[in-house]
Symmetry: C2
Subunit: 365 residues, 2 copies
């Protein structure tokens, strides 16, 4: 028996690189870009950007904030780094230092750019086509001067429902995008789609596709089985196994009561590590005992450092055994569905706690 | 008009210290300990531990994992650092190096301790009294030898329903705890309560109270108005203001549709920064325009980097103005309630993204 206390986050960089390459093929002939914003969805932007740069020839990266561009700039020399939230007085210096490329989304930000343009950098313009988030609206575009229109290097928009193949919004947004392109930017390269749009066909891929979620193994085309490989494994050791007598309650606010005698395991991971508290009384922990997989239901509230699960039907489970929260057979998509959210949010949380032992799976050079 | 892109997390260390001191008074004559696990609920364990050590004389700290103890050890010399998840082969070295004090919760971990005891350290024993999480059960205690019982320096348990003043579990757990103390540890100091228990009266405070959530401003006695001061402000700049025409959809999966012409603001913060995605179509953003506070409803899905809110009724709002997600009038307790979770989970997420500009409010020495 081993006594262990720390949860483990394993990241499979081989699968990540393979996912990216597969997506490049799907998106071709469009150019592929990697989205590494939010610290590569929590996994470590430098690590992810570097491997895609070195092993997959990626030369275009999207981040949300200039501070994120600053982190990856040293490991992706001569690559284009696009900053989706754009430029402002709180980030101008970083744009100058690293020649980051802002995505300009409003007339006000364009005005700022004209007053503070960074030499040698041609920004991207974001146009609004139906998501009603960031981007120039029709009335904003109409006010652009001929000189304004020449400032940009690319035109960008973003789909609202790209993960629903037949949603009317997809065609509606594509038509809007093409109409704006024809009218204002007939000669500019264009990018409309993230991972989900890449699966919608060539029309949606335009000149560049921004690959994020699917690179990280998330199924962005959930109307068919996932073509991406899982890149994440989260496991934590069993700290204790105990009898739960009939009638006893479990966890904060006593939200679970044993109707029969049960046996429980306390696993050393909680919402402090990024396991959504919404999994209380709903989520699952998996155990491999003597080569066989078992599924145990989380009972009671998920607490900051622990989850408690019902292991009554698992013989021979021992203190120190691993409980799996995410693995190849229960992926980010599965845990997110059980938590009532999307894989992106779960992934974004998991990578952020320094308590994890981080293990990187990567083939030798 | 200013153009800004980054969200800001402000931490008020004066209020944090004041909360801690007030809690010390409430808990007296029990000794106070500060809970700084999960990186001080995301805020920075070194910073929080150091200020409580220096400004409030705190000499007892609780963390969950030894790696968290390692981080604070240099700033709290000669303090006791207790490790709630206990000790194992993946952390033994840190216990030896920093003389951390493990909380031992199972017979298996006790066995490990007896084989690897750290010289000069007397561990704490955790006993189970009703939470059915970590801790020695009655049957485990019965098996302890007389020598075993002499190993420990303190006996610990944890309340399940301490935030509900009249919940039957509180008295039930206290009675169980006192019974175990009498039978096995009549001479040992004891700690039963976290912040919530501190408000339940002297019986529950025993010899030491472990102060976490309430120090961070969370109301752990929600049956009466909060006596703690808010220590957190989260704000993000408006990136764009736009018209939303009647019939248009907003955000991913088009979950909001404008029934009338609206005006929207896109604010530069999202779930990547720790704003729960559960606030989609539910949460609020607050704006101060010309000295007056306005409340705007989040519409559509919260995305990774942005929230969109309805500002139709806010005159004179401008790009670059601040949208407040957490502030003195809409605290962690409020945002957590709207997100269907607890303040602890929200706080634990907010502190973890390096994209925040972090501002520390602290009076001069």
């Amino acid at each position: 028996m081993s006594i262990l206390t720390r949860p483990v986050l394993q990241i499979n960089l081989d699968n990540l690189t393979e996912n990216y390459k597969k997506l490049c093929e799907i998106a071709a002939p469009a150019t592929a870009a990697a989205v590494v914003k939010d610290n590569a969805y929590g996994l470590g932007a430098e690590m992810v950007a570097e491997i895609l740069y070195q092993k997959a020839g990626c030369r275009n990266f999207f981040v949300a904030h200039a501070v994120e561009g600053e982190r990856i700039a040293p490991v992706v020399p001569d690559a284009h780094i696009y900053v989706l939230q754009g430029i402002g007085s709180d980030s101008l210096e970083l744009f100058e230092k690293y020649k980051l490329i802002p995505v300009i989304a409003s007339p006000e930000m364009l005005q700022f750019w004209k007053e503070h343009a960074v030499k040698g950098v041609k920004p991207v313009i974001q146009v609004e086509t139906g998501l009603n988030r960031l981007g120039f609206r029709t009335e904003d575009l109409a006010k652009l001067s001929a000189a304004d229109l020449k400032i940009f290097s690319m035109v960008l928009s973003h789909l609202a429902c790209g993960d629903e193949k037949d949603h009317f919004m997809n065609r509606y947004q594509l038509d809007n995008f093409n109409s704006v392109r024809r009218q204002y930017f007939p000669k500019l390269p264009a990018t409309l789609s993230a991972s989900d749009g890449a699966f919608l066909g060539e029309d949606f891929c335009c000149d560049m596709v921004r690959l994020g979620a699917a690179v990280y193994g998330i199924n962005t085309a959930p109307y068919r089985p996932n073509q991406m490989k899982n890149i994440i494994e989260v496991k934590a050791p069993v700290l204790q196994i105990a009898n739960l007598p009939k009638g006893d309650f479990v966890g904060y606010s006593a939200t679970y009561r044993a109707a029969t005698n049960r046996r429980i395991a306390i696993v050393s991971i909680g919402y402090g590590d990024g396991i959504p508290r919404a999994l209380s009384n709903v989520g699952k922990v998996f155990f491999n005992v003597c080569g066989k997989w078992y599924e145990a239901r989380i009972i009671g509230r998920v607490s900051m450092d622990n989850v408690i699960c019902d292991v009554t039907c698992i013989d021979n489970l021992q203190v120190g055994d691993w409980g799996y929260l995410v693995f190849d057979e229960y992926t980010l998509d599965d845990i997110a569905r059980d938590a009532g959210t999307i894989s992106y949010e779960v992934l974004s949380r998991l990578g952020k706690n320094p308590r994890f032992v981080r293990e990187i799976k990567k083939s030798a050079e």
